[in-house]
Symmetry: C2
Subunit: 188 residues, 2 copies
Amino acid sequence: MQPFVSYLQSFTSIPEQSLQALLDLFKPVHLVKNEYYATHGKRAVKLAFLDKGLMRAFYENSEGEEFNKLFFRTPAIVGAYSSLITKTPMIINLQCLTDCEILEATFEDIVALYDDHPRIERLNRKIAEDFFVEKEKREMSLVMNDASERYELFKKEFPGLENDIPQYHIASYLGITPTQLSRIRAKR
Amino acid sequence: MQPFVSYLQSFTSIPEQSLQALLDLFKPVHLVKNEYYATHGKRAVKLAFLDKGLMRAFYENSEGEEFNKLFFRTPAIVGAYSSLITKTPMIINLQCLTDCEILEATFEDIVALYDDHPRIERLNRKIAEDFFVEKEKREMSLVMNDASERYELFKKEFPGLENDIPQYHIASYLGITPTQLSRIRAKR
DNA sequence: CAATTTCGTTTACATATGTTAAGAAATGAA
DNA sequence: TTCATTTCTTAACATATGTAAACGAAATTG
């Protein structure tokens, strides 16, 4: 639980009693490589802390093409956040790129803590704000940078990750084909 | 204040006393067409409710090229949200596309209410969540849809707006040049 | 270790979009 | 209303990226 607690406290300090109430909701789960943690179409009910391993979030269009949206490395919160918030079916998929250890809780159980534990709601607020800021960064990058610049940014944001996952996952994250990524890599 | 109150209550119900404390922080301001409400490089300190008018948020790269990020129509909250949250300089600019009436408050004053008014913090949480969901939608659209599809989505999301603003603003929002938008429009 | 599959690169060609420039149309100012 | 400015469209050409296919390298599996 230690990395999880540190991660949470990095957002805002949480009183011991509230923290304990929150931690009690999380149970460890082991996932194997390539296993899906979430599948689009269903409604998300759980969210998790990624304690060990590597995951990806991706969209899928009607032709079955995949579009990587984000990579998760520890420490991180993983889950179909939009689906949890809006209570509508998930649009994204979450898949393990390696074996993973997660701590999992039911989102509604967390929300139920808010009235008695305002610091937990504050934690959620901070996390939502942080998610928003990250998303805005990526939006800006998609709009302002070309694929070659986005590749450089990717390497900065996920140092070393390029060696741990197939090139086609990176290409998908960059919004280009593996062919084009190969061309960009060949240039320098 | 009525549209503002309705807008806030649409996120979560707020007790009379907390609502009043919040409303007291907001002062009406009039802005004229083309006026900047926020300029990149400075730190944002205020946020506002757009009561009347039309605004745009846009990025600017080092060559001075502009990239529209979002259009705001009433009712909406306008502000450099990322800058307020992270307390770092703004990356975006906010500019009036028409004369505007806004209600403006200092963000820190709002945050200062949270300890005594948990429902105000809840409101902020809900708004942050909502912003995140909207941003994720736009990210998905940028990644999965081509410019022509994004144009159709734009027309659905901002009905009628195409007639109120120059085409080049729409092109910028879609991530293409006015030339390309013109071609897309000519096709059907 | 050998066989099979997966992955990355390259090539040739197609397409969407960018760039520049010109002119037409619309808008705003005098 | 007239003139000047801004906006929109179109054309010609350039470029980034997509598609499809082939091939060799790397990884996986039996």
